[in-house]
């Protein structure tokens, strides 16, 4: 059978690739996609722990449901903000949107 560590390593790889994407990308939609990757890695970790170590209480799986809910709300709002930004500034590049930067 597949041991628990395999899932943990897979989710660690996904999470760090997401961190790299958030730090490196310039397009706001691509940054949002990297954030989605990180959220998915975390949910996978939760569900793996719930399924292997805690099958009677399954708090991890319930938490994954809430993570998916909040992520869906976040995607909807963030894309609305990005579309608004594009309409006002004609760009989705986060390096060019620096009005609030001192």
């Amino acid at each position: 059978m597949v041991p628990l560590e395999n899932y943990l390593v897979l989710s660690a790889i996904m999470f760090s690739l997401g961190v790299y994407g958030v730090l490196t990308r310039r397009n706001a939609v691509l940054i949002l996609m990297s954030v989605e990757l990180m959220l998915n890695a975390v949910s996978l970790n939760f569900v793996a722990f719930a399924s292997y170590l805690d099958p009677s209480k399954i708090i991890g799986a319930v938490f994954a449901v809430f993570v998916i809910t909040v992520a869906a709300a976040e995607v909807g709002l963030a894309l609305a903000i990005i579309i608004r930004l594009y309409r006002n500034r004609s760009t989705a590049n986060v390096d060019e949107v620096a009005t609030l930067k001192w």
């Binding site: 949910s43 996978l44 793996a48």
Partner: protein, 167 residues
């Protein structure tokens, strides 16, 4: 044995799709790779025998979220000719350092820790009725608050993205 071989195949596909999402030069290719990566996580839920979450993952992430992201990409494309734009900033070396450090730490901790109760080395699986009982009985108030959050996010997104008079 067959399960393990299949697991490794899908794990490699998932990691490859994730890397494609992050490293791809074209934004549309990135979004297509993202579908593969999210579907790969859904397949991992199937391997963990958590049917309900696998279903939710395929429906919400594989369907709704990726369609929304593709739509936003097409609406906000700076260059309609499809020329590959400069997607990565000058922070690339720092991103490599931070991402590599986090990956090393997480993998080291995950491998070196001896997890308790992990005697059978086997996913127990979580049936859908157990999840629903937990969700509706023990986590009732957070569930209601989550529905209110979704409603507020929906209304907020409509107000933000609406085309106003005189614009």
């Amino acid at each position: 044995m067959a399960t393990e071989v299949l697991w490794w195949i899908f794990a490699i596909i998932t990691v490859a799709a994730t890397a494609g999402t992050v490293f791809s030069k074209s934004v549309i290719h990135s979004a297509i790779f993202l579908i593969g990566s999210l579907a790969g996580v859904g397949v991992m839920y199937v391997f963990l025998v958590v049917d309900f979450l696998a279903l939710v993952q395929f429906l919400i992430y594989g369907g709704a979220v990726t369609v929304l992201i593709l739509l936003a990409l097409m609406v906000t494309r700076a260059d309609p000719t499809g020329r590959p734009e400069d997607t990565d900033g000058p922070q690339k070396p720092f991103g490599v350092v931070v991402g590599g450090a986090i990956m090393a730490i997480l993998i080291g901790v995950a491998v070196s820790t001896s997890w308790p109760n992990d005697v059978s080395d086997k996913a127990h699986g979580i049936p859908i009725d157990t999840i629903s009982q937990k969700l509706f009985i023990d986590f009732g108030p957070p569930f209601v608050i989550a529905s209110a959050l979704l409603l507020v996010a929906l209304i907020g997104a409509i107000i933000l993205a609406r085309h106003e008079e005189g614009e």
